[in-house]
Symmetry: C2
Subunit: 182 residues, 2 copies
């Protein structure tokens, strides 16, 4: 997973531990599998989400450089701007079309922080973001929006990354399950 | 949404109402937003999932030709084979790579039933499917796998479909929310 450009981070907003456990876990696993290096869960820590992600990392290999939870979204955004010198993308069904904006985001050549909300996103996020981007203008899923965004950012190459220090690896199969221990 | 080829249907397996409500709802909304015409939830009916989908259809426009729940997966597969004369694709992290198989699926020129499971998928699904396809060989999310599969099937055009009989429509915006009543 070394050398993937631009580096991407995910900032998950508005996680409610009871209701969002599985959706938030899916966003984290998609972030990892599709090449992101950072995952931030703001405002709360949900250890069952974190445990799940870390156990996948242990078995399937290291994808993330850093997973963090519990700071405010303002803190994570500020870290991204000041230390990563990155840009902020907010995925929202109300934003500008992905296909028209993705080249501009790539050309900026900077680390990309991708904000994904749950049902209620504070209005100021729309102002803070450098790009408000829609993956289609229909209601669907932040999991799908994140996957398609990363797919466009990495031109489909994210599906073929090799993860370091993996204990197991799949050998693609026409009709069964082949898992190799390595 | 008329005339999208090939027609696609989703068969969601193994839904557990308590645990999977939101993930299953996301799969249905992704199916609709990304151009599928049929959505089947096998073995159980979860009316909160169905209500959610139908209320989106009412407000944002008709995407599905048919939404159904409660039959066995064998019934849905048999309907697809016999009445739709379609092919069966099973999305699984153990399958053959999407990018290598998608042209073959398109060339078949037949309606595509896409099976997505939750944690446990009966072994015979691997045998019944004409194609076992992986969207990457890492653990992530059936929501993301479905989105990427439909995106490849429809070459990214699914993000621009217009839905019939919509009451509202979004005007893409750089920094706010613009919803038009129509």
């Amino acid at each position: 997973m070394e050398g993937i450009e631009p580096q991407a981070g995910i900032l998950r907003l508005g996680h409610r531990p009871k209701r969002d456990k599985r959706i938030t876990t899916h966003t984290a696993l998609v972030a990892r599998a599709f090449g992101a290096s950072y995952y931030f869960l703001s405002e709360v820590c949900d250890m069952s989400v974190m445990d799940n992600v870390l156990s996948v990392e242990k078995r399937w290999g290291r994808g993330f450089k850093l997973v963090s939870c519990g700071l405010s979204y303002k803190d994570y955004i500020s870290i991204w701007r000041n230390y990563m010198k990155g840009v902020i993308v907010h995925l929202t069904m109300y934003g500008l079309e992905l296909e028209r904006e993705i080249d501009g985001i790539k050309k900026a050549g900077k680390p990309v922080l991708i904000i994904i909300g749950s049902e209620k996103v504070p209005g100021e996020i729309y102002k803070i973001a450098d790009f408000n981007i829609s993956v289609g203008n229909q209601p669907h899923s932040e999991v799908a929006a994140l996957a398609i965004f990363l797919d466009r950012l990495y031109n489909g190459q994210e599906l073929y990354y090799k993860f370091e220090d993996a204990k197991v690896q799949i050998e693609p199969s026409a009709s069964g399950k082949k898992v190799i221990s390595i």
